[in-house]
């Protein structure tokens, strides 16, 4: 089925024209200012480079700024008749039965306890709505680590038993994780997708309210032209100072940005990979991802598949919406600056791959813009770095023109015209970019007393915004260097892999901080010395960047502190509505993690190794065997390989085997049974009986 490409609402076009005109005009005005400064004595090559960089970076900032401004306007007036959640449909019947919907949680070597605690919270929240029977749960595991694999199976079985979820809560582990997450979802769609009209895709740390899930299905039912509705996930639950600052920023400013995005993107919005509902049939018909020609990092599997899937749906004429006003959609964020950078490293490669797609044939203009925005979110860092270097070099050459900055005892410098205006403009732009959306977010709090209280009151919220701003100024140069490094590594065709995330709270020690930020600190010191020595006037303008780099190690360590995170909460700083008054689903999650007693005795007992348990414990062994996919018996070479591993295990024990080798052993039913018998015949009985 292919839908009409354009939505029939005239206002959609008007909004976009207005948005892009504002971006264009603001950029032109700023560029005009710069050109007039440079033109005083002709434009040199260096100035031309500066102009080009400035044009790219400023337009990128304008997109962000005007998006926030439009979001501010929408929330302030409370009017947005084209928000997908508010559009009426004459055929809609509020109490109509819901079609079957699959809730999918793709996981990869995650903390199983947290994954299943989250799923159980969602399950309970759905049960509260009375609509639980309309939803099935799928844990789609791509886990490779054998310890985590066996743990997941036990947790799944425990959840089924505890919640009477037989026939509604499913689990499968893929033998090969071909095409990573997109392949994982494709596997679901091609095997069981036919049972469901909709699927709601979660991430391992996603939490969603039952009401929100039901509302998403209802929206899809009301709008048959819509293939995908994305909800804005609000960051929650982390306790380190770093994460609490990010949670506060994401919560307070995020709603303005998402409202703004929806304002001009409307039915041509984007997909962020999770906390979204998709219509299964169009996804099957149009979202099979090809391998890109060439080798990694630009060829091969499409890594950031979500943007591409949204673009493919749009290409086929389906609408993709961002339901910015649907609350009850949450995710967890990395707890430290280093973890945040690691996540960036994984996303960076996928987003840069979109360079090749932005100009591909057949995609809609807005899809191309989404691709470009994805690329720019990482390319902006090296461009900023280039801009800073070029500005410094330009300033140095200007100092060589023997200009006089100080006259007599006057301590106020008299800048050369082009240098002063140039730097002032850059500073003003940075300040506007940093501060205005934050101030607008505070203005919105003034309007809503309930929300104001949820953020800890106006005074605390304002103080939090000021501190958050200082923190983001300090960390921005660090992230700039991180992202520049990632971009360069990828451009030099060094693949970055797809490591699993460390999601739980933990702190950064000195050694880790020094190893990670040592070079950045050194760069900060060297740049500081050079600029102070050769371009002393430039040095003072450069201070915020230098300070961020030179303080990278202590800032990274201190911000990872859980004690400081808790202290800031006690002081009423960086509070979010989810902290002040947690919704039921988050309380369920907390209760599940703290108090929940597993039904299965094997989960209540401490276990050294789930892998060994899969070999020795008759129950774990039988459960694992029952969950293995049916496949052809191994060939001769494979049998020899497994035989070798069995001998290694007999002689040197499980610690001598790699995770992949352990996985190979317990992935083969015959080997599993043989090892079970082998352990029971030869291990000391006391060991086997626990």
């Amino acid at each position: 089925m292919t839908q009409s490409v354009q939505s029939p609402i005239m206002g959609h076009t008007l909004r976009r024209v207005m948005f892009f005109l504002l971006v264009l005009l603001t950029t032109l005005v700023a560029m005009g200012l710069m050109v007039s400064v440079f033109q005083t004595d002709g434009i040199s090559l260096m100035e031309l480079i500066l102009l080009l960089l400035y044009a790219i970076l400023f337009s990128w900032i304008c997109v962000s700024f005007w998006t926030a401004f439009m979001g501010f306007f929408v929330i302030l007036t409370g009017r947005d008749r084209w928000a997908i959640s508010r559009q009426s449909a004459p055929s809609a019947a509020p109490a109509a039965p819901l079609p079957r919907t699959a809730i999918l949680m793709p996981i990869y070597n995650e903390d199983s306890e947290r994954v299943f605690a989250g799923l159980r919270a969602i399950h309970r929240s759905l049960a509260d709505t009375g609509r639980l029977s309309d939803f099935d749960f799928f844990v789609l595991s791509d886990t490779r680590d054998p310890e985590v694999w066996v743990e997941e199976e036990l947790r799944w079985q425990d959840m089924v038993r505890a919640l009477d979820g037989k026939g509604r809560i499913f689990y499968r582990n893929r033998p090969e994780n071909i095409s990573r997450k997109s392949g994982n979802l494709e596997d679901f769609c091609t095997r069981w997708g036919g049972h469901y009209r909709y699927m709601i895709v979660l991430d391992a740390d996603s939490i969603m309210k039952g009401e929100t899930l039901v509302a998403m299905v209802r929206i899809m039912e009301r709008h048959p032209r819509v293939a995908l509705v994305q909800t804005p996930p609000v960051p929650i639950n982390r306790v380190s100072l770093f994460a609490r600052i990010l949670q506060f920023a994401g919560s307070l400013y995020g709603r303005m940005f998402t409202a703004g995005l929806n304002y001009w993107q409307l039915g041509e919005s984007n997909y962020w990979g999770h906390n979204a509902i998709l219509r299964v049939q169009p996804f099957l018909d149009h979202c099979g991802l090809p391998k890109l020609p060439g080798r990694e990092p630009f060829g091969g599997d499409i890594l950031s598949h979500d943007f591409v899937e949204a673009a493919l749906l749009r290409r086929a004429g389906w609408e993709v919406w961002l339901a910015y006003d649907l609350e009850g959609s949450y995710e967890e964020i990395p707890p430290t600056l280093i973890d945040y950078a690691k996540r960036d490293r994984r996303w960076c490669q996928g987003n840069l791959q979109h360079l090749r797609l932005a100009l591909s044939q057949g995609f809609n203009a807005l899809s191309r813009l989404h691709f470009s925005m994805g690329v720019m979110s990482y390319l902006a860092s090296p461009l900023w770095l280039l801009f800073l270097i070029a500005t410094g070099v330009d300033a140095y050459f200007q100092t060589q023109q023997e200009q006089v900055y100080f006259f007599g005892q006057n301590w106020i410098p008299v800048w050369p015209v082009s240098f002063a205006v140039e730097m002032t403009t850059v500073l003003l732009v940075t300040l506007t970019m940093l501060f205005l959306p934050k101030i607008l977010a505070l203005v919105l709090l003034l309007k809503d007393s309930r929300l104001r209280r949820a953020y800890g009151g106006m005074l605390n919220a304002t103080l939090s915004v000021v501190l958050e701003t200082v923190f983001s100024v300090l960390t921005a140069p660090v992230l700039m260097l991180f992202q520049t490094k990632f971009v360069l590594a990828i451009l030099m065709r060094r693949a970055v892999g797809w490591p699993s995330q460390q999601r739980g709270d933990h702190e950064t020690g000195f050694r880790e901080a020094a190893l990670t930020h040592g070079m950045q600190t050194l760069i900060g010191v060297v740049a500081g010395v050079l600029s102070y020595h050769y371009v002393p006037a430039f040095f003072w303008w450069f201070i915020p960047v230098l300070l961020g780099l030179m303080l990278a190690i202590p800032v990274s360590m201190l911000s990872s502190s859980i004690a400081l995170g808790r202290m800031s909460r006690e002081w009423g700083l960086f509070l979010t509505p989810e902290e002040t008054d947690p919704p039921a689903v988050l309380r369920y999650l907390e209760a599940n993690l703290k108090e929940d007693e597993p039904v299965l005795p094997v989960l209540r007992e401490a276990s050294g190794s789930r892998f060994v348990q899969a070999l020795t414990d008759p129950y774990v062994n039988a459960l694992h065997l029952s969950l293995l996919p049916e496949r052809e018996p191994p060939g001769k070479r494979r049998r020899h390989y497994l035989e070798g591993l069995i001998h290694q295990l007999e002689e040197e024990g499980p610690d001598s085997l790699s995770a992949a080798q352990k996985r190979d052993l317990i992935a083969d039913p015959e080997t599993l049974l043989r090892l079970h018998a082998l352990f029971w015949s030869r291990s000391p009985v006391e060991v086997l009986s626990g």
Binding site: W192, L284, C287, P290, L623, L625, L627, E650, W680, S683
Partner: protein, 168 residues
């Protein structure tokens, strides 16, 4: 080099016993049945003897010593009973799922039922059927064809001029 001084680390698992005594076999089987949840010593002995009786009929398993084969025979005995009670094919993943359900504690009195007359196993059968959770629904296959994405190429327009695509 004095080879007598070279020490070899003890293997992780002790060497197999080529000809185990009947005491060793019964001891091992007893421990295994207990791990499966059979606590009555009389039942343990009876089940161990049944398992030992099946040993000669059991096909050779390469790399498994006689004690290991006795353990396999015990499992085989249990699977036989489960397959009959639940009418499941052997071998099958469903049978492994039934064994997992049995051992998960879903039917705590199962050893007693094993020795009860066939008609008295209905309650256990129902409890087991209720406890077997299918890991996935029955398949409903669908095709997801890979979409064509024509990447941008500077030479693309020239190549199209040189080799125009055939008309549909």
């Amino acid at each position: 080099m004095d080879r007598g001084k070279v020490s070899v680390a003890a293997p992780y698992l002790p060497a197999p016993v080529a000809v185990p005594s009947s005491e060793l076999l019964l001891d091992r089987l007893g421990a295994y049945w207990q791990a499966l949840g059979v606590s009555d010593p009389d039942q343990v002995t009876a089940l161990s003897e049944q398992a030992l009786r099946r040993l000669p009929e059991l096909p050779e398993t390469p790399g498994v010593d006689p004690v290991g084969r006795a353990v396999v025979a015990a499992g085989d005995l249990l699977d036989d009973w489960l397959a009959r009670a639940l009418q499941l094919p052997r071998p099958s993943l469903a049978l492994a799922a039934a064994r997992a359900a049995l051992l998960s504690g879903a039917a705590p009195d199962w050893p007693a039922t094993l020795f009860a007359p066939p008609g008295e196993a209905n309650a256990l059968r129902d409890a087991l059927r209720a406890a077997i959770a299918e890991p996935a629904p029955i398949p409903s296959p669908g095709a997801m064809p890979a979409q064509r994405i024509d990447l941008f190429s500077l030479l693309g327009p020239l190549l199209r001029l040189w080799r125009p695509e055939p008309r549909a």
